[in-house]
């Protein structure tokens, strides 16, 4: 008994050792972003006033903006398709076990990582400067993002393909290409559908903010309404987007299920051969249809493209000549972005720990409660952080605090969704094991499920942190502090030498953050 008690005491002490520095750190971060409960409290009535104005959506407006929504969906769909195809090829090139030469992944991966650190809003802003406003720069920006996400996800997947599969195909005398075609590609295909829908959702969300810099789609209308303070129209647009994403989510679920059941065994070999041939013809036809669609959806001429590429080359050349005297501003901006992202990740993450308890079906006290919170969480995650930031602008004035709070809410939404899904997929025995001792649901959550899934939780949180770093760059465009403000200013003023330096700075910080989080994740597993 004595040993037990002292062990408990030691454990508590250890917890304290961790908790106090963590609290001090959090305090420091809060101070850095000018956190103040009083200011928030005082701002609440003003914020409700704004939310109240948003609660009068004008549904007749939907018909007016429907064509622009279709444009956005088209942009997202075309660029996702293109991106997944390009990305799959890229992934095969840079995956360690399928690369033609070991030097390619060694050089290719840092290169892709570098490109991935640049937020798509910045891509779009730069591309708009080159190709002028319209769908085209938006589409290219989205394709770049889609390609880079696909490369990352598929590369990680390919690298987990057991060596036996590859060696097995090689052992029957297949060449490198044949191994890829018959060994790796069928496995990648299955994954591609899942990646496609993921990328599509990311791109539809992305397409809405690209309008900010004039890259076409519904975002341009969203931005106009925001600038004219038409919050009623803004709310209508957000509801519309929410519905669209929901439909895509459901559609992807249904399609993926359908694809799984599609497998029909062939009875004889000639039938199998015939089917193989038909399959190739179908793929070929689809490719042609896709290409025509792509060409039709472009609103750009060949001469315009060449002009754009020329000015693009000029711009990149100027970007390469870093203006080093600008470095102090860079460091200042990066620090602020870092603090905003840290604050949002910690605040949203801790909140999610509590909210997930209510949101997951298997831990929530009643299923109705879970359903209610699922709706809330989805709402939190649909509101673009930019709009939430504006709401906070009204309460606490523009600045890092508003940005940090907006990102905290977004992180809370996303984290709760992801973590509650993790909880729902944990084995029942973990919860039951605690419940059987007579403990309640809360205790079984605290001492059963949370410790069991804690490494997943941290891993999700680290991903959120990376994403928050990117998002805090976007928020800067509307004046929520951080590196984004400086970056947007200098793109608008065509100070390419400074933009080059800033982008390099962002990339280095992002790569460091990713490396660190990868290290921590590896340690957890």
């Amino acid at each position: 008994m004595k040993i037990y008690k002292s062990s408990i005491r030691r454990k508590r002490k250890r917890q304290l050792y961790y908790l106090i520095p963590a609290m001090v750190l959090w305090g420091f971060i809060s101070w850095q972003i000018n956190f103040s409960l009083i200011r928030l409290w005082r701002g609440i009535p003003h914020m409700f006033n704004l939310i109240g104005r948003m609660l009068q959506p004008d549904f007749s407006y939907i018909l007016q903006v429907l064509p622009r929504l279709m444009e956005t969906i088209e942009m997202a769909a075309v660029s996702s398709t293109l991106g997944v195809i390009l990305g799959s090829l890229g992934a095969l090139f840079v995956a360690r076990n399928t690369a033609i030469h070991p030097i390619i992944p060694l050089l290719g991966n840092p290169f892709f990582t570098f490109l991935r650190t640049i937020p798509n809003l910045i891509w779009a802003a730069i591309l708009v400067s080159i190709f002028s406003v319209g769908k085209f720069p938006g589409m290219i920006a989205l394709t770049i993002t889609a390609t880079l996400i696909t490369v990352k996800l598929l590369r990680e997947y390919i690298e987990t393909i057991p060596e036996s599969v590859i060696k097995g195909v090689e052992s029957v005398g297949a060449t490198k290409i044949q191994t890829l075609r018959y060994g790796v590609l069928p496995m990648v295909f299955q994954q591609m559908a899942a990646v496609f829908f993921l990328v599509l959702e990311v791109n539809i969300r992305g397409a809405t903010i690209l309008g900010l810099v004039g890259a076409g789609g519904i975002g341009q209308i969203l931005w106009r309404d925001l600038n004219h303070l038409r919050y009623d129209n803004l709310a209508t647009l957000i509801i519309l987007l929410f519905a669209t994403i929901l439909v895509i989510d459901l559609g992807s679920l249904w399609l993926r299920k359908g694809l799984k059941d599609l497998y029909i065994p062939a009875k004889t070999i000639p039938i199998f051969r015939l089917r193989q041939k038909v399959k190739w013809i179908v793929v070929f036809l689809l490719l042609i249809v896709g290409m025509t669609w792509l060409v039709n959806s472009l609103d750009i001429t060949a001469e315009r493209m060449i002009l754009g590429l020329e000015s693009g080359a000029r711009m990149v050349l100027r970007m390469a000549q870093f203006e080093f005297s600008y470095a102090p501003r860079l460091v200042e901006g990066l620090m602020e972005s870092l603090f905003i992202a840290l604050f949002a990740t910690v605040t949203g993450g801790v909140g999610a720990l509590f909210l997930s308890y209510l949101t997951a079906y298997n831990t929530s006290p009643y299923p109705e409660v879970a359903l209610f919170f699922k709706a809330v969480v989805n709402l939190l995650r649909t509101f673009p952080p930019i709009v939430v930031a504006i709401i906070f602008f009204r309460g606490v004035g523009p600045g890092p605090l508003a940005g940090a709070m907006a990102l905290s809410i977004y992180t809370l939404g996303v984290m709760t969704k992801l973590y509650s899904e993790v909880i729902e997929s944990t084995g029942e025995n973990i919860q039951q094991g605690i419940l059987i001792t007579g403990a309640g649901k809360i205790l079984s959550y605290r001492f059963g499920i949370v410790p069991h899934t804690f490494s997943n939780y941290i891993s999700l949180l680290l991903y959120r942190f990376e994403s928050n770093m990117r998002n805090s760059t976007i928020l800067g465009v509307i004046g929520a502090g951080g590196i984004g403000t400086i970056l947007a200013n200098n793109i608008a003023w065509r100070n390419w030498e400074r933009v080059g330096l800033l982008l390099a700075g962002v990339a280095i910080l992002m790569m460091a953050v990713e490396k660190l989080s990868e290290k921590i994740r590896k340690k957890l597993v």
Partner: protein, 289 residues
Amino acid sequence: MKKVMVIALLMILTMGLFIGCGEKEEVLVMGFVPMRDGEQLIESVKPLEEMISREMGVKVEAFTAQNYVGVVEGLGSGAVDFGFIPPFAYVLANSESGARVAMTVLNAMGESSYRSQFLVGETSGINSFEDLRGKTLAFVDPSSTSGYLFPGAHLYSQGIDIEQDITYLYSGGHDQSLQLLMNGDVDVAVTFVDARDRYKEDFPEAMEKTRVLGYTEEIPNISVTLSHSMNEEMEERLTTALMRISETEEGASLLAELFNIHGFVLADDEDYEVIRETAKRMNVDLSDQ
């Protein structure tokens, strides 16, 4: 564990209070939204913050924002006390929350207003606004006063219905409008006077290859707008402080160099009526629900 939680909670609360307490003393929050058609990129308003603080004897906290929405919302709630904001933003802030305009900034010519220009290609053969029918025009963006509202209203006054008589697009920036024109994507571009000079590094041939078709009406310069929550005494102190700064030699040169401000003139709502009328003509709904 419970004790730890209690301690943690207490710490958070006290910290919030501490940070909150720091702000109890009187602080004026100032927002600065540089106009995109200014001479140079204004990044730090520190010098201006210091000058006003010293002159008024009140601590001023200043920040810059590329977009005015945040500042307008802040003015509405009182989170921001006063701001240097574009004229269209003032009209929005006024109709939304009753913000008042105190002063208008003077430009290098000592004027309180500026104009936009319609640029066409040197060899385009467009010589009057009548010739614009059926042509393509680049506006800047729908929230831009000098790049959309005034030029659009000017076209209406010249008998051109922008929805029917011409095709138009938004370029996203004065520089990009110029680029579209230089590349031949559009027949007419709208920019402030004179974007060709400002972007001569990017478009060295702009001066020879384009010419001015016409100018818009006078657009009021950037305004000094006060939140409805600021009292008259403070308003008085602020305006005299700004006036005095612009009259001292050191202050004047700093303002001119860093912010392109060459003085102030007292202003009232009527000076901005022209913006409201123009917005109405351009179908921008300013009424607040």
